[in-house]
Amino acid sequence: MSFLRAALQTSLRSSRVLATPRISYSLRPQAISFQRATFASQPALTKDDIQSRVLDVLKSFEKVDASKLSPSASFAGDLGLDSLDAVEVVMAVEEEFAIEIPDAEADEIQTVQQAIDYIAKTPAAPRRLLKVAFRLSRLLI
């Protein structure tokens, strides 16, 4: 029994010894901010950036008349796209920005401006890496 108590005491003592530096470590802010900095270095998307990329996506559609294309154009009225085309547009936008738009919200997107606004309020995905990963996963499946 005495050796058990001794073991208990040493383990308690060692845990107390370990606990003290752990607390002081967590109080050091630079250790944490260093970790965060590696993930947060992605620059945020600007509104102009989003707009030009969305317009580029739409330009690549053969059904879309480039002369009618503007940020305020609606898919059905101005661009002459039906609901199936709108689905394709949303898919292309999803791939361009490497995001997933839920079906219900994708159905709400009826104009170019709505698509831009949706991406602006969605947390930005890391661009290049995710895009490459997205394409790779599609190739492998």
Binding site: V87, E88, M91, D107, E108, R138
Partner: protein, 94 residues
Amino acid sequence: MAQNPMRHRVLALYKELHRLGRDYPDPSYDFNGRMRKMFEKNRNLTDPEQIEKAYNLGQYIKNETLALYSLRKYRHLKRMYGDSSRSSTDDPPS
């Protein structure tokens, strides 16, 4: 129109089929073009039963295409190495 749950289901099906169609092995088959024509052919359906039927056909085509893709690797191997069950080297003539 936006609240119609069938509309969402059909659009989701179109989305999935479109994504599948991009990887279709034979580009001259024009999977997405054909699929689109089938959707457009049924655009004026109003009877819920007929819509459901067309939707089920779409689901069936989706599952068949998925099965086709999962067999693609197997078919490729078979084309490369021939049909081993019919090879004459393994089994001696009786």
